[in-house]
């Protein structure tokens, strides 16, 4: 069965051109970029080229790019560095809808005596800037807020938030893993000090990430024991993956317009048609500014895992905010923070598209989804009562 892959916020296909770019750096050009000989040197120059390409996508300079192993490492490194840089500041601010890479770390830090404030969101998932203003003080070491939410695609006003953080001398970090490659970003005209990127969310392979570190920002490395990345991240470079990421960033820049026109139009058609065809459904984050590729729809009276497995029968890959898919018993912390009722959160499905998504694929989802929901509602003791006469 051919897959219809609409789970690009989970991970993406490695672009063929990206794979070709990295291919020689396994069996042929396997030198260590740090070596003094020509064999390592030629890898080093490709790594430098990649650094330039990543910098260009971000509107940054190459020395502001630190390669890491993943977005999670970048998030961890940014927060830990800020706490080491400001030993007298004992307060961290984040949001209630962050990715666990940030949230879990912050919550763990409360056990080390740090004060953590988690800023809330409104019903559409929008950040409460007033709450942030009230929370930042001169004890705040770092404010870490995501650029785009992985579950709903809702965008945070990170520039305004960064300005608020900096007014009290705190550092500002943004987990931009879902935003980079989907919306234009220009760090040259930004207030943000640190930014996390993950390769496998933009058609590079898994196992490569970036921490953007604004020039002049004080920093303490997370991994020590080597001079790599100007001693800001020790460990032999994952050269092939770095080279792949460089290519992926170049392609992301070229496809940025497609992402915001073609992909967005497909997403809009998918969500509008499903909303028109299926009663008792709502878009999570409706009304907020969102990523062009993401839609999260809550279907009442049915449960997400059952929907996903029936979609899977047609090759359709999506994800859910339901409790049952994750092994936890509560629906997603993001949907709960937004105040989405439990009754809807259990039946929330996220579709995340990419530049590879086709019209025909969207047609299939539009065709198969309504009968799947109807079938589960027929089976549900709640759906039948509410949907009498609606078939």
């Amino acid at each position: 069965m051919k897959e219809i892959y609409l789970d690009n916020n989970a991970t993406t296909k490695v672009d063929e051109a990206v794979f070709e770019e990295m291919r020689p750096y396994f069996c042929e050009l396997y030198g260590n970029p740090s070596s003094m000989h020509f064999f390592g040197g030629q890898v080093q120059s490709k790594v430098n080229e990649a650094r330039g390409r990543v910098a260009e996508l971000l509107g940054a300079t190459p020395d502001e790019i630190i390669f890491t192993a993943c977005g999670t490492e970048s998030d961890n490194a940014a927060i830990r560095s800020a706490l080491e840089v400001f030993p007298d500041r004992r307060h961290i601010i984040t949001s209630r809808v962050e990715h666990p890479a940030v949230l879990t770390q912050c919550r763990n830090l409360t056990q080390k005596g740090y004060r953590v404030t988690e800023i809330g969101v409104d019903g559409a998932g929008r950040l409460d800037l007033e709450e942030l203003k009230a929370a930042v003080d001169t004890d705040t070491a770092i404010v870490s807020l995501m650029w785009a939410n992985n579950e709903t695609g809702v965008l945070f006003p990170v520039e305004e938030a960064a300005a608020i953080a900096k007014s009290k001398g705190a550092l500002f970090h943004s987990d931009a893993v879902q935003a980079i490659g989907k919306i234009p970003i220009n760090m040259a005209a930004s207030n943000i000090d640190m930014l996390s990127l993950s390769g496998h969310k933009l058609h590079a392979p898994k196992g490569i990430g970036v921490l953007y570190l604004r020039r002049g920002t004080p920093y303490r490395p997370f991994l020590v024991g080597g001079h790599q990345e100007k001693s800001r991240r020790a460990g032999t470079e994952n050269a092939a993956a770095i080279i792949a990421l460089g290519k992926a960033c170049q392609l992301a820049g070229e496809h940025m317009e497609t992402e915001n026109t073609v992909v967005k139009a497909l997403r809009d058609r998918l969500q509008d048609t499903l909303m028109a065809a299926i009663p008792y459904a709502r878009i999570n984050g409706d009304g907020a500014e969102r990523l062009p590729n993401t839609t999260s729809i809550a279907f009442e009276f049915v449960e997400g895992e059952a929907i996903l497995l029936l979609l899977s029968e047609f090759g359709i890959c999506a994800s859910s905010g339901s409790a049952c898919t994750s092994g936890s018993l509560e629906p997603s912390h993001v949907l709960r923070a937004m105040g989405v009722p439990f009754t809807c959160a259990h039946g929330s499905i996220r579709f995340s598209l990419s530049r590879y998504t086709t019209d025909a694929e969207i047609d299939t989802v539009i065709r198969e989804m309504p009968p799947i929901i109807a079938r589960l509602r027929q089976m549900s003791p709640f759906g039948r009562e509410h949907l009498k006469g609606q078939g």
Binding site: T110, A306, L309, S322, L329, T343, P381, F382, R384
Partner: protein, 290 residues
Amino acid sequence: MWDYTPIVKDHFLNPRNVGDIADADAVGEVGSLACGDALKLYLKLDDNKDKIVDAKFQTFGCASAIASSSALTEMVKGKTLDEALAVSNQDIADFLGGLPEEKMHCSVMGQEALEVAIFKYRGMPIPQHDSEHDHGHAYPDYEGEIVCKCFGITDTFLKKVIETNRLTTVEQVTNFTKAGGACGGCIPKIQELIAHVLGDADAQPRKRPEKLSNMKKMQLIQEVLERDIRPLLWADGGDLELIDIDGSKVQIAFRKACAGCASSGNTARMVEIKLRDLVAEDIVVEEVSQ
């Protein structure tokens, strides 16, 4: 992806006996939309009112909840009521070739619905559950104290499941009953119940430390606020912030829905009880507006 057996997949994709029975003799309903799963079971008896001749179900839930319901209806058809009552949640799981442990609560839900249906038919009392927490299951003959408030689960029911399935950890109890899977506030109590059932002194509930340095005390206060108290407030759209700790005096400010809430005095009292319980007996909680 869950590792479902082919039988689970078959009963999910081709569920048997979906629907209702208009003149059903017995109906058992457990679960709710808020819980994430619910099952309504209909039984039709023969003329002697002894043997189950037909069974149908309606289920809201994940694949294994639907498969467990389907399996249950197949299993009880042809059985007498007494035979049906002997069906255990493990029997349902076995019928399906096994369930992932995280999904065992689906088989428990099936068994519960069956008991509720038969107890109700026989006119045996079904305890009213606390209407305030009416998002839970109904527990025939399992009166007792509500342990898990999120899912409305009583101690008697938990003891039964712990005993029949020989559960030894909180994680297992959560997998089988959901108890403790949401706010986690009842985890110490579940540990107590396991210890009680097993007669095991190892699974001790969290206890207040005997002696605490000032530093440790401050840390523990923050830990309890973060882990045990704030998640409870978030559930109702509220929040609190720790303002200061001065010896045994803990100053907090309420935020969001808690700020200006008429019952914030009660909430402050709840915080104090919890802190006294888990940190130190002499703690005084003071609400400040800041």
